[in-house]
Every structure is written in C-alpha cells, then in structure tokens.
C-alpha cells in the first residue's frame, strides 16, 4: 500500500471536566507529515500526545480544526481508511486466546483477505522478526520482547500506508528495546511507510525520526526539527536544546 501524507490544520481538543470546566488537551496544532517520512513526537507526560494519537487513529473526534490522511478524516471516514493504518502500542496488546500467528492475521481478517493469504503474510512477517519457531505459541508462552515482535509483525503484515508506534519500546529492557528500535527503523524504511513515533524518550525520537516534533503543554508545537542532515555534534547540541525546552514546559 502506498504511503499516505498526514496534514494537521488548527487541531484542537477540549474535554469537559467533572466540575464543569473546559480542559484543553490540544491547542491549535499545525503541521504536515510527508508520505514516506518518519516523524517522532516527543513531549512530557500529560502534553496531549495520547489525545493526538487517539485522533490520528480515529478513536476521538477533534473539537476544532482537522486532521487529514490522504484527504480523509480518521474519525469521519472510519471505514474508508481500513487497512491504511496500523498501530504498535506500548504494551503488546495481543489477544491472549490467539496464537502468535492468529494475532498477526487479525488485521488481515478485518481487511477480508483470504485465509491462505492471511497465513502466508503472517508467517512471512513472523519469520522476518525471528519468530518462525513460535508461530503457534500463545502470548503467555512468549517473553515480553517476543510479544512486542508479534505486535510489530501484526502491524507490518497489514502493509499499511501509515505505521504508528505509541511508546512501543519504552517498557522493554534497554537491550531488547534497542534491538527492536533498529528492526522497526530498518523495516519502516524498507517498506516505505509513513511513520509516526510517539515517545517521551528523546533518544528514541532522534534514533527513529527523520524529524522531531516537540509538543508543549497543552499540546501545541514548540519545535519542528529536521534531523536528516545533522552531524553527530549538531545532534548532541540539539539534544540538550530539546531537553531544556521540555524542562521549561
């Protein structure tokens, strides 16, 4: 599936709190993610990253402004965007009653692929992620890192235009997280998906993103930083600058 571009125009999200006050979770966001580009979004806890993600996935509707994926809105065009996006979440969120193989076929079943195609694609991706020997294992029989690999395979098997990672490696030990980040990074470039990586770890953002978007509180764009042509020294300087930005918030 061809990569999709994402356009965010004047996006706002307000919630009504229990005591009747308005809480602004996202305040006038504007940016664009080009097709095939990987963007990392960083921000402190409570800066509205999750709300933005919910709008991007289509779980919530914006209060004002709009978010367009290839000209379609994720909430309003729910069915028309089926198969075009996949998300890898913080926890693996595998169905405990399904084997690794059947967890990977889930998105393909929803898409209406034939059983043979589902199995073929799921086996291919589980093999690529080093789980060829565990196709029929249940999630409780796998380690945390292996479960997250299954979740990655579930996302890539859909061959989506957009792949979203929501704190996908934050809960793993450093070695496993680094390995999976490298796999994710190389696969997303190989497959040409548009990537959206939401994280609170600056290191991860700079490793995975072509650009880093820094969210302030409430979610508004504080900085939009291209990383592609930066030297190692420039990256170090930038890291300190972003850290200061986040501390100020």
């Amino acid at each position: 599936m061809k990569p999709e571009e994402i356009r965010v125009e004047g996006l706002q999200k307000r919630f009504r709190t229990a005591n009747g006050h308005d809480f602004v979770a996202i305040d006038n966001l504007d940016f664009e993610i080009k097709a095939g580009e990987t963007v990392a979004i960083v921000g402190r806890t409570g800066c509205g990253k999750s709300t933005f993600l919910n709008i991007l996935i289509g779980l919530e509707e914006p209060s004002a402004g709009r978010l367009l994926i290839g000209g379609k809105t994720p909430y309003g065009d729910f069915d028309r965007l089926r198969g075009k996006m996949a998300t890898v979440f913080q926890q693996d969120r595998l169905m405990p009653w399904r084997s690794a193989l059947d967890n990977v076929t889930l998105g393909l079943e929803i898409l209406g692929c034939s059983r043979a195609e589902q199995t073929e694609r799921a086996e291919l991706w589980l093999n690529r992620l080093g789980l060829g020997g565990h196709l029929h294992a249940f999630p409780h029989e796998l380690s945390g890192g292996m479960r997250q690999r299954v979740a990655l395979a579930r996302g890539f098997a859909l061959q989506p235009g957009i792949l979203i990672a929501d704190e996908a490696f934050g809960h793993l030990d450093e070695i496993t997280a680094k390995t999976l980040r490298e796999i994710f990074s190389s696969l997303i470039r190989e497959q040409g998906n548009t990537g959206v990586v939401v994280t609170h770890q600056l290191e991860e953002a700079m490793e995975l993103g072509d650009r880093v978007l820094v969210f302030g509180r409430p979610a508004r764009l504080r900085a939009d930083i291209p990383l592609a042509k930066l030297t190692q020294a420039q990256r170090q300087g930038l890291r300190a600058e972003i850290q200061n930005m986040l501390k100020e918030d």
């Binding site: 779980l59 965007l81 089926r82 996006m85 969120r93 405990p96 029989e141 380690s143 030990d173």
Partner: protein
C-alpha cells in the same frame, strides 16, 4: 525473562483431566455414603433407606424420564443462552437499552421460582410450554447479567487496539468481545446447569406428566421412599455429568489460560 526465551512456567492444561475424579472428592463421597448406610441401620426404612434398596430402585427407574428431563433442560438452556447473548450484546452496544432493560432483568431475577411455576400453570395449557417458560425466565436473566459483565470486562487496551484496525461492528464482537467473554460464558453455563436441573424438577412436579419431577410425584404418592432417593441420586449424577462435560469443553476451548 530474557529476549528469545520461552516462558518456562507456562503450562498448557491437558483437556482429559476434566473427567478425572480427584481422590479428595472420592473419599468425601465415600465417607458420606458410609455414614448414610450406618444411619439406615438405626433409622426406619421409610426415612433413611439403605444403599441396597436405593440401588434396586435406581435399576427400576424408567430411563426415558431422565432423557426427557435432560432434553428439556438443554433446549431451555440453549434458548436462554441465545436470547441472553442477544440481549447482552444489545445492552452493551446501546446504553439506553441497558438503562431501561436492566431493571426488568433484575425484577425477573427477584421473582421466586415457585411464583413463576404458578404463573406458568395459569398462563399456559401445554405442559412443555409451562416448563420451557419457567426455565427460560429463570436462566436467561442470569446469562444476561453474566454476559454483560464479561463484555464490560474486556480491557480498554484490547478494545482500542481492535478499533485501530477499523473493524465493522460485527467483526468487533465476533473477534474480540465474544472470545473475550468466553471464560464468563462457561462459568455462567455451569451456574445455570445447576439452577436449571433444580428448577426443571420443581416445574415437572406440578406441570408435567413425564420426566424426573413427575416420577418423584408418583413415587411419593405410592410411598416408595427408596424410589424418591433413587430419583434424587439420578438428578445429582446428571448434574455432575453435565458439569463435567462443560468443564471438559472449557479446558479445551480455554487452553490459552495460564
């Protein structure tokens, strides 16, 4: 656990164990039987008949009555299950259906079984209809409440993950909510089996001309105490057998549970 290692503690239960009788169960039942036999030596036979008399009475029971009662229970439970599932799905999907429907369900659960039996006698002429009505009106609300609780218990994380794939509403239920509610469904079946076997006997006592309940009435009318105990024994055995069958299916279908 290190990356690449398969969980060593993971054990998959073997389905066959559902039918085995734990030795503790066997011992406690044997002790109870021995106490009964001793009591029968001292008490009059019309109050506590011995095992030999009860055994002869069991052999003389018409087995078709047992089959009829079990068939009634199964048909009513299948109807209650299907209806209960449909209502629970409607309540889960449309909040007003739950808000308006749940008080009625709770009202149905509060009415004593004896009252339902009397209503059935007043409202229906056909005995099978009376029995089916009583069983469904008693068991379906239990299924509804249990299923709705089970559906609400499916984690938000899994629900959000599922919605991120943009399923149709039917796919959302068939691939997530129903499989996620399966453990609760089995528990509910076990509770309702026990309830239905007790209720069907009461309904047959007053509204039928066949089945175990009717057999109990006849035995009581001819003062055959051993036969009353024999029917009771058969009912308990039926309950244990059907529960073991559900337990076997549960272990097979929920083998993913740790």
């Amino acid at each position: 656990m290190p990356e690449g290692a398969v969980a060593a503690s993971a054990t998959v239960p073997t389905p066959g164990r559902a039918f085995s009788l734990p030795w503790e169960t066997a011992v406690s039942l044997l002790v109870l039987a021995a106490i009964w036999e001793v009591a029968s030596l001292f008490a009059p036979p019309f109050a506590v008949p011995g095992w030999e008399r009860i055994g002869r009475a069991v052999l003389g029971l018409p087995l078709d009555s047992v089959a009829i009662t079990l068939a009634r229970v199964m048909v009513a439970l299948v109807l209650s299950f299907a209806g209960g599932l449909a209502v629970a799905v409607a309540m889960y999907s449309v909040k007003p259906v739950e808000r308006f429907g749940m008080p009625i369900v709770k009202l149905l659960m509060a009415v004593p079984v004896v009252c339902w039996i009397l209503f059935a006698v007043l409202w229906f002429r056909w005995a099978e209809m009376r029995i089916a009505f009583v069983l469904v009106v008693v068991c379906a609300p239990v299924f509804i409440v249990d299923f709705l609780d089970g559906m609400k218990g499916v984690s938000k994380d899994l629900r959000d993950m599922m919605w991120s794939f943009r399923p149709t509403r039917a796919q959302f239920f068939s691939k997530l909510i129903i499989p996620g509610t399966l453990p609760v469904m089995f528990t509910s079946w076990k509770i309702n089996l026990s309830l239905a076997i007790r209720v069907v006997t009461m309904a047959e006592l007053v509204g039928a001309t066949s089945g175990v309940g009717y057999g109990l009435v006849v035995a009581q009318e001819v003062f055959s105490v051993a036969e009353v105990f024999a029917w009771t024994l058969v009912l308990v055995a039926c309950l244990f057998a059907t529960e073991a069958l559900v337990g076997y299916l549960e272990k097979r279908m929920l083998r993913w549970r740790v």
